[in-house]
């Protein structure tokens, strides 16, 4: 059931009415039932995976809780009898017990994710090696990938790590925990929520709050506008450009990069707008996933503003534990001694970065293009870090820091850099991606884009006008958001203005949404991850 389907709108309408009709104490149960129905539409068999993750997470969280309670009670009773060292030793033993439980849960759930998502990738690589020795290739397993498995696995594993760390409460009600893992607006493409944040509003009783509901609805409409009017329309041209690399090389690679940047932004942020808006209609507050990322002045900043919840997940649960691990600290000490200049301190951080970006890449997809994409991100981030002294010198020498023109240059540079890296996402083939990137500098066909070639990409002049206006509106909204919530500002306007905004959005979606033949009112790009 795609967000953009009529089925979903009908499902949402029924659930919404029922939600505000039932007794408030049953609202969360209704959300749970709705979430399972929503998920079952993707395939009843996937519920098995879902239930497995929920049950294993619940059981392990309860085991860890028991150990924590036992530790607390033991220390309370024996407070006077134990020396400081004995207490320390006891805590260490109990922590090790919790760690074992945590490890079982992580291995099991990431194991399931690994098997369904990466088995065929591994087989493909093994077959590649076997072919060098004329060996018999292995058969592919063709596991069906459960919808949103990367998202809900990450969310539930984030919860169990937080339980282990003692940074969130343990949920004793398995059905409530199940709702946290399955909450339907976010289950397929995030945001990846933290239990301590989401649980605050997910299980609460909610009144029919007209302001919150209308804000949610506005956000949903805005998401539909981005997805249907911009993303799905420009998708046709992106597919044409990517689908025929022999024809569309040189300057067309740059055109494709920019078109894809627009499509991906409108698609992903549009999907998240729908997600957050739908949740808001039910009184549930979800964490924001974007903060105007295309206004970033460098790649590190971009990754703090794009897919924020995924970035913080990797930072909190992989980058930090890896970087402050005793072994890494030992390596850090060795590195400082061996390389006395500043680089000695930075090498361990770079090592952790490469590991995290490798994981980020493979999280996006079981193929080499995503791995290379991830590693290239790490290369750029580490190089930027190394070039900091040069930038500082440059800023001081030329007095450009803070100047608007220089900011625009930095924003454009970051946009082009990120778009270049995304070539790997477009062509899904590493050698082809590099060849296409190289063709921008070797094939000088700049004039071709003025020969009407842009009109042969599946888009008419009307399409282009709609896209240009759509992108302009999207840009202006992002620009205005710098000064705070636009919806709050609209809300203070007279009723007639508010309704005008509603009508314009609805009419734009109905009239200019990409529905006709040739358009794929497609699933969201991030659904596949």
């Amino acid at each position: 059931m795609y967000f953009t389907s009529y089925q979903f709108i009908l499902f949402l309408l029924i659930l919404f009415i029922a939600y505000y009709l039932v007794k408030k104490k049953y609202q969360w149960i209704l959300l749970l039932i709705g979430s399972y129905i929503f998920y079952a539409f993707a395939g009843i068999e996937y519920l098995f995976y879902f239930a497995t993750t929920t049950i294993s997470t619940y059981l392990i969280s309860q085991r860890i809780k028991k150990v924590k309670i036992k530790q607390k009670e033991y220390l309370k009773i024996n407070k006077a009898d134990l020396s400081r060292q004995e207490k320390k030793e006891y805590k260490k033993v109990m922590k090790a017990k919790q760690w074992h439980y945590l490890l079982i849960c992580l291995l099991f759930n990431f194991g399931v994710l690994g098997i369904v998502k990466y088995t065929d990738f591994m087989i493909g690589n093994i077959n590649g090696i076997l072919s060098l020795f004329h060996g018999e290739p292995l058969s592919f397993m063709n596991f069906a990938l459960p919808m949103g498995i990367s998202f809900y696995t990450f969310q539930s594993m984030g919860y169990i790590i937080d339980v282990y760390r003692g940074t969130c409460e343990v949920e004793d009600n398995i059905f409530k925990l199940s709702l946290f893992i399955s909450f339907f607006p976010q289950v397929i493409q995030g945001p990846i929520s933290r239990f301590k944040d989401l649980s605050q509003t997910l299980y609460q009783e909610h009144d029919f709050d007209l302001k919150a509901i209308s804000f949610g609805l506005q956000r949903v409409l805005w998401g539909f506008f981005k997805k249907l009017v911009i993303a799905d329309r420009i998708l046709v041209a992106v597919n044409t450009l990517i689908g025929d690399p022999a024809t569309y090389d040189g300057i067309f690679v740059l055109v494709g990069m920019i078109y894809y940047a627009i499509e991906l932004y409108a698609d992903f942020t549009g999907g998240i707008d729908i997600t957050i808006g739908v949740a808001q209609m039910f009184g549930v507050h979800l964490t924001e996933n974007f903060e105007r990322p295309y206004f970033s002045k460098n790649i590190a900043e971009y990754w703090r503003r794009w897919h924020i919840t995924m970035g913080t997940w990797f930072k909190d649960y992989i980058f930090y534990p890896l970087s402050v691990n005793p072994r890494m600290l030992k390596f850090s000490n060795w590195s400082r001694r061996t390389f006395p200049s500043g680089i000695g301190k930075r090498i361990p951080v770079y090592v952790s970065s490469f590991i995290v970006w490798f994981a980020t890449g493979i999280w996006h997809g079981a193929s080499w293009n995503f791995i290379v994409w991830g590693l290239l991100n790490a290369v750029v981030i580490c190089l930027s870090e190394e070039m900091k002294p040069f930038y500082e010198w440059f800023h001081q020498h030329f007095h450009v820091d803070g100047k608007t023109s220089y900011k625009i240059f930095q924003i454009a540079r970051t946009f082009l850099l990120m778009s270049s890296l995304r070539i790997l996402d477009c062509y899904r083939d590493v050698p082809l991606s590099f060849a296409m990137f190289g063709s921008m500098f070797t094939k000088f066909n700049f004039s071709e884009i003025f020969n009407g070639a842009l009109m042969n990409l599946g888009l008419s002049m009307i399409d282009y006008i709609i896209i240009i206006i759509g992108v302009f509106v999207m840009f202006m909204v992002s620009f205005m958001q710098r000064k705070g919530s636009i919806r709050e500002r609209i809300d203070k306007k007279p009723v007639i203005v508010k309704f005008f905004v509603y009508y314009v959005l609805i009419f734009a979606i109905v009239l200019f949404g990409a529905y006709s033949i040739g358009y794929d009112a497609s699933q969201f790009i991030y659904n596949q991850f």
């Binding site: 760390r165 003692g166 930090y320």
Partner: protein
């Protein structure tokens, strides 16, 4: 405290660590800085800061960070 200020000043010498209480909130320290601080603290104070303590509350000011180091030394 002076040792800690030295570590911090080596990362960003243009920040007034005595008064600033928004090192994380204002994005003055990023994740690279934080893990560098953890390694330096381990080196200078012989204290290991575990991953669960890498939260904004502990790194928003030099004072908070110092309090964390003292707490971990006591444990």
């Amino acid at each position: 405290m002076e040792d800690l200020l030295e570590i911090l000043e080596e990362l960003h010498d243009d920040v007034d660590y005595e008064t600033c209480t928004t090192l994380i909130d204002d994005k003055i320290l990023d994740s690279f800085d934080i893990v560098t601080i953890v390694a330096e603290v381990n080196n200078v104070f012989d204290v290991q800061i575990p991953a669960e303590e890498l939260i904004p509350e502990n790194f928003n000011s030099a004072k908070a960070l110092y309090a964390l180091i003292e707490r971990l030394e006591d444990e």
